[in-house]
Symmetry: C2
Subunit: 110 residues, 2 copies
DNA sequence: GACAGATATTCGCACATGGGAATATCTGTA
DNA sequence: TACAGATATTCCCATGTGCGAATATCTGTC
């Protein structure tokens, strides 16, 4: 494959991952995986100011990770692809294993 | 689950994802998935200065995403968990689908 | 100890990111 | 048009991130 093209793909790949690299955005994605919601519904569910939600949703939208559909005055956001949640779940598993190893180590040491 | 505990877990989850949110680190992880390598081997393979590699490897190490094992003067890094690559592959698939949709749309429009 | 190779760290800088506050831009309705 | 609700954007600030350059810290060998 062309080296420059590969660089661009890795860049886009990293940007998608960057979409996941914030606790609030992770919460948003899991919440949207449960069901599509409007901005205000998300704001209530996640106890987060609406402008903050809008900014995070813009980031996720630009990366193609959520979809936005207008219904009257509301805009309903939805998870664009369930594989995003599968990826998050995998990484959460890795985190869990890593933590349990560390605490096992911590126990062994103390 | 305790709300504060959940916040901390989401924070760690986001930090792992942050480990993926850089093109060079993605290249490092894929390269290590192929085979464990020393820092200089990685530097040669990825055409990246050694100090840059060391800094990225530190980030991945701190998040438990790679392991480091000393062998003489060399330190061999390895992928800590194959699920990290599985997650990356899933996201790369999502990226691919998103791009092909966009270019299909671009064709349809033009 | 002296030296060379391998790896890690520090410094300085340019740039991106997240958030609160305020405001602007819609949309539907009277 | 006026108004209220929903969503998006902007400004400002504090903080984080990546990198080049230089330097420091190992490790093995003589």
């Amino acid at each position: 494959m062309d080296k420059e093209l590969l660089r661009q793909i890795n860049q886009l790949h990293a940007e998608i991952c960057g979409g996941l690299s914030d606790p609030k955005r992770i919460a948003i994605l899991y919440s949207l995986a449960d069901k599509p919601q409007s901005v205000n519904e998300l704001a209530a569910a996640l106890e987060t100011p609406q402008p903050t939600l809008s900014r995070h949703l813009k980031i996720l939208r630009e990366r193609g990770m959520v979809t936005a559909e207008r219904d009257g005055a509301n805009i309903y956001y939805a998870l664009a692809d369930k594989r995003i949640i599968k990826a998050l779940d995998l990484l959460r598993e890795v985190l869990g294993d890593h933590l349990s190893k560390r605490s096992a180590l911590a126990e062994a040491i103390s």
